[in-house]
């Protein structure tokens, strides 16, 4: 039965189903309408099935079908339904990344000392039950995306300059808060250390556990980002 005021939820729909409320008994619609509605249903089902097949092919590893139909898949999926679910897969990241920066003021003979800008992020996460995107998803991801922007042959691609500016802007923003002087140039150094395998567990990857250092070139800092 229908309640007069508010909360139908107060009464469990027992005899009259909820559905009956919204779908009152109606005389059967004319045949033309029924056929048209059948068409609507068929269209919805067709779109649903196509969408699921397309998403499956985009998510699945490269295979003969997805190669053969690469263009229609991309046309359907790109850009709104593009997705990647490599969450800690195939292997979780097995190294720690430290990002250091130093600056150069014009007229000064020597650059500033190295400042660990990633340490600020780590300190922010410590004892924080709800860390921000700014500390977990900005600096290190921008470094990863910048690295990936170099193609497999190690040559810069079309997205490299954009990602370079992003990484530089982040570094400038982070270091400005800790730099006593205005500066005109900035340089980044990335120190990567392998996480030691568990003691007594399966053998470590053969590589040495010594930290690996990458030093990027000096970048000019200008307000308009050139």
């Amino acid at each position: 039965m229908l309640q007069r005021y508010g909360d139908l939820d107060e009464v469990e729909p027992r005899v009259v189903d909820d559905a009956a409320l919204e779908h009152p008994v109606t005389p059967a619609p004319p045949k033309a309408l029924r056929v048209a509605l059948g068409g609507v249903a068929a269209l919805c089902v067709a779109v649903t099935v196509t969408h699921l097949v397309m998403v499956f092919l985009q998510v699945a590893p490269a295979n003969p079908i997805s190669e053969r139909f690469a263009r229609p898949i991309r046309a359907w999926i790109h850009p709104w339904f593009e997705q990647s679910w490599y969450l800690f897969a195939p292997n979780p990241q097995s190294n720690k990344v430290q990002i250091l920066a130093r600056t150069m003021t014009s007229g000064a003979k020597q650059p500033s000392g190295w400042f660990d800008i990633s340490a600020v992020d780590r300190a922010d996460v410590r004892h924080n039950p709800f860390p921000s995107h700014t500390t977990q998803n900005v600096l290190q991801s921008s470094w990863e995306i910048y690295q990936e922007s170099y193609g497999e042959d190690g040559k810069p691609t079309a997205s490299t300059p954009v990602q370079e500016k992003y990484l530089r802007n982040i570094a400038v923003q982070r270091i400005t808060a800790h730099s006593p002087h205005p500066f005109q140039q900035i340089q980044l150094e990335i120190v990567t250390t392998l996480i030691a395998p568990p003691a007594g567990g399966p053998a470590a990857p053969a590589d040495s556990t010594a930290p690996e250092t990458t030093t990027l070139p000096w970048w000019n800092v200008t307000p308009n980002g050139s």
């Binding site: 005021y5 909360d7 919204e22 195939p90 720690k96 568990p198």
Partner: protein
Amino acid sequence: MAVDQTPRALPAPRRAELRPAGTTTRRWKDPLGRAYRFLTERPRSLYAAAFLRIGFGLLYLTLLVREFPNRQQLWGPESPWTPDLARQSFAQSGWFSLLTLSDSQQYFEACYFVALLAALLFMLGWHTRAASILFAIMVASIRGRNLSIVDGGDNLTFLVVVYLTFTACGRRWSLDSRRARRRAAIRFPDAIQPTSERAPGLRANAGVAREFTATVLHNCAMLVIMAQLCMIYGATSLYKVQGEMWDDGTAIHYVLNLDGFQPWPALSHLIDSHQLVVTVLTYLTVLVQVALPFSVFSNLKYVVLAFLIPMHLGIAVVMGLPLFSAVMIVADAAFLPDRFYRAAARLGRRARHARRWRWARAAPALDTP
């Protein structure tokens, strides 16, 4: 624990009425007709859709409030990812964002406010269809403004929010449904009247067509959401199977040692120091994720969810990823049937009544209805 006092036998006669003897054999006849009726008769999983609406609305609202102090840095005109860089990257990514249409600070603040408002209205279910479309546009805009910071939770949120625009997610637990009930109560105080009798002809047919389309769209979209989740779990687990760290049972050790995901280092080290625990967790993670797509059609899903939800809670605390974990947990709830939500709502109501009653007894002076 309250004792269930509702007459349990009540639904039984209905079932007997609907399914006369011999239906089990007839079930296999006319499978196409059955599928058609399943798809078009009524919107299925309305409670799950409502739960997704409330859950994703609330979580996005939480994100916007949490990042409110950092909004400039993440999405504002002064962000390191400048509007110019975002516009350049759209050429490659094909994305779009309302936020890059202007570099003005006021415009950005206005957009952020609209996003907050859209999330709130969507969560409450106020003019749900319109609110859901506005909400989806705002989620896409904020996401597109800085694609490099999105994580798995943000990706899933965007997909589900887009799919939800096609569902009838405002029919339960919403301001819309409350309004509809009140209107119905005023118009037909004593009985349910077929509305179409009062407006026969073209208008009635238009109403039928509208309801039919909404139903089919809803059912298809709910199917897409569930299938999408199955593909996520399937993909992420099968990718993991290919990694040697998941194979040799050490993956969780490396996850526990990631710098940016160690809010409680003592806790991470404590878990890490028990190799047995690490190995069991590593294998369990993969197994449960592999199992989900195969369990959703049976009651086995409750077992899988009983493992998945604590796993996500663990990620929330140990790795400092509460929002990501909450998104995954809310999404998993899409698989729960309506009878589960009804039972949960009943339990909640009973607890509320019991508390009210106890309160009334403790303070008899209070005039409680």
